[in-house]
């Protein structure tokens, strides 16, 4: 009998310690499935961020390191340049990638590093207790924007994927979400493409995932799914932002 579905080899048999309704677990699972499907587990090196996903190495069943806050793209560059035939990816939150690590992601993208970036946008700093991120929405209440984010004070929700999409070094950027089954399937397809690009030496690929943080948003798990649909997606529209293989 043909096996249609099983636990991915690329995930350890450990329980996620994420909050109920958190998006990180879903994305970990998608990543693991993709790595299994390409049979690249034994040549993959993952880079965990500083953020809620810092413990990713407890879950991923392949070589993993943990970079300083915001520095995963630089660490990935060091690894990939020495070992160009390995598969190297970073997994970063929006605080990690869009705030403290803005320079590192910008320049890794601009150099066209042949790596894959999984960028979790949950519009908040999860791990440190729910502070405002560069991606936080106008009016969104967080620990450090108790009256709601104000543009005059803190600027605007940062569309860093669109900004990175302007760089000639970038091969592929797509924004997806994991708030319903249809979107999860699309997210997997995008992640798969981002790894396929690396395997084919196409260069820098990034998938931005709009991901639930019910705790940081102070909503229930179910409300968080709707919050993505109604609040996040209008500001961060889903879809392909750049795809060099499509342009002629």
């Amino acid at each position: 009998m043909k096996k249609l579905f099983s636990y991915p080899d690329s995930l350890k048999k450990a329980r996620f310690s994420y909050c109920p309704g958190c998006g990180h677990g879903i994305v970990h699972r998608l990543l693991a499935e993709v790595i299994d499907e390409f049979k690249i587990r034994e040549k993959t090196i993952g880079i965990a961020p500083v953020g809620c996903a810092v413990f990713a190495y407890h879950y991923w069943n392949f070589d993993v390191t943990e970079a300083a806050h915001g520095r995963p793209p630089a660490v990935a560059t060091g690894i990939k340049r020495v070992l160009p035939d390995r598969i190297v990816f970073t997994y970063q939150g929006d605080g990690d990638l869009a705030s403290i690590g803005a320079a590192e992601i910008l320049h890794a993208a601009n150099r066209g590093e042949n790596i894959t970036v999984i960028f979790i946008n949950n519009a908040i700093y999860g791990m440190t207790g729910g502070q405002m991120a560069p991606t936080t929405l106008i009016g969104q209440k967080t620990w450090t924007s108790p009256g709601g984010r104000k543009a005059e004070l803190s600027g605007y929700p940062m569309k860093i994927s669109e900004a990175l999409g302007q760089l000639d070094g970038v091969h592929y950027i797509e924004r997806v979400a994991v708030n319903n089954p249809e979107n999860v399937l699309k997210a997997k397809k995008a992640i798969k493409k981002a790894f396929k690009n690396q395997i084919a030496n196409k260069g820098f690929s990034l998938v931005e995932v709009l991901s639930m943080c019910p705790v940081g948003w102070a909503v229930t798990s179910v409300e968080a799914l709707r919050w993505i649909e109604e609040k996040l997606i209008p500001v961060y529209p889903l879809g392909v932002i750049r795809d060099k293989s499509k342009s002629t």
Binding site: D63, V64, A67, A74, T77, G78, R81, V82, I87
Partner: protein
């Protein structure tokens, strides 16, 4: 075969790195070390190595972190302001026990300071510099020959102890042209098969290299483990040059560029009949405590000279433990010590 070549200090570091099998270099422009980055840009592609001009010193040290994870020998270089930016990465390397060489061709500070050679970064280099309970091996070359030799040694020590190692030089030695002897050996550039590297888990269990240790007393245990390593380094790796100390009544203690002036001063003082010697620490961490302590018992006094407001003097005083008087002569801000000034100070002390 030993070869004699005329070379600039900064280039000699590059040559030492290449002779040591360095396969990945990451830099960012800053004076007075730019020749070194340019040297690596020229040579690395020729030997099949990696050269990247990073977007910042922060990125460069994190690229070193990444390259080191794969098992290759790797290096970054900068000067004082850039070394401040690397401290985060150095702390993470120390925590993850990743070997790597960091070169600081010091300039005057604080702040943007100036671009003249200086010795203002002794505290930063020997006290860890970054956050947390860790140590960095620090080697201090005082000649172009040592720029080459100590760079080679720094790669050996980095691998031996799985630790970041700093070469603490300065803009004066960096810019100096001198003939050096170097071995032209067949350099092995293979990735070393170390049992902790990340290169994909083919045929083995997955590995993780990380520094977050949240378990109960997990970090304390790890800190003690690191401490054992630091103890071994202290027992085995202390290096210092002793110059005319046997009958000395006063010893100068100086490292790096200041020791060159110190040596001149000793020669001149001896000619004038003063019994002066010199201790030149080559490892700044671990500091040659015992050597200094033992000699302190035999001399009338000690003169520490530094191109700073006085930083190493604190280590000297700790080593001397009040056994003799410790004097200081120094000039900060990238001003060079004159031999005559040192002699004046020696005369003042001996009276």
């Amino acid at each position: 075969m030993k070869k004699r070549i005329l070379i600039r200090g900064n280039d000699a570091i590059g040559e030492g790195a290449i002779q040591s099998g360095c396969m990945a270099y990451f830099g960012y422009p800053i004076t007075p070390q730019n020749e070194l980055t340019a040297y690596m840009a020229k040579i690395m592609p020729k030997i099949g190595g990696v050269f990247i001009q990073a977007e910042s010193e922060i990125a460069a040290i994190n690229m070193v972190f990444g390259a080191s994870l794969t098992g290759v020998r790797t290096m970054t270089s900068s000067s004082s302001p850039g070394i401040s930016l690397k401290q985060e990465g150095i702390s993470y390397m120390a925590a993850c026990q990743l070997p790597g060489v960091i070169v600081n061709v010091q300039r005057g500070g604080p702040g943007l300071g100036n671009i003249a050679g200086s010795q203002g970064d002794y505290f930063q280099a020997t006290r860890g510099g970054g956050h947390g309970d860790y140590r960095t091996i620090v080697l201090a070359p005082y000649s172009v020959q040592e720029m080459f030799d100590l760079t080679c040694l720094s790669f050996e020590l980095a691998d031996k102890y799985r630790s970041p190692v700093m070469v603490l030089s300065d803009g004066v030695v960096g810019q100096m042209l001198e003939p050096i002897h170097k071995d032209d050996k067949n350099v092995e550039r293979k990735i070393k098969d170390k049992d902790w590297i990340l290169d994909g888990c083919k045929g083995r269990e997955p590995r993780m290299v990380r520094s977050l240790l949240l378990g109960e007393e997990e970090l304390e245990k790890y800190n003690w483990e690191l401490n054992n390593k630091y103890k071994r380094i202290k027992e085995q790796e202390i290096r210092a040059e002793l110059y005319n100390v046997e009958d000395a009544e006063i010893v100068i203690i100086a490292y790096g560029i200041a020791a060159r002036m110190g040596k001149q001063a000793v020669k001149e003082a001896r000619r004038q009949g003063l019994k002066i010697g010199m201790i030149r620490p080559i490892t700044l961490w671990p500091f040659p405590e015992q050597i200094v302590g033992n000699i302190a018992q035999k001399v009338n006094s000690i003169l520490v000279i530094e191109m700073s407001l006085g930083q190493m003097i604190e280590d000297v005083k700790l080593a001397v433990e009040g056994k003799t008087k410790v004097h200081f002569y120094g000039r900060p801000g990238g001003s060079v010590l004159e031999v005559e000034e040192i002699l004046d100070k020696l005369r003042e002390i001996s009276n």
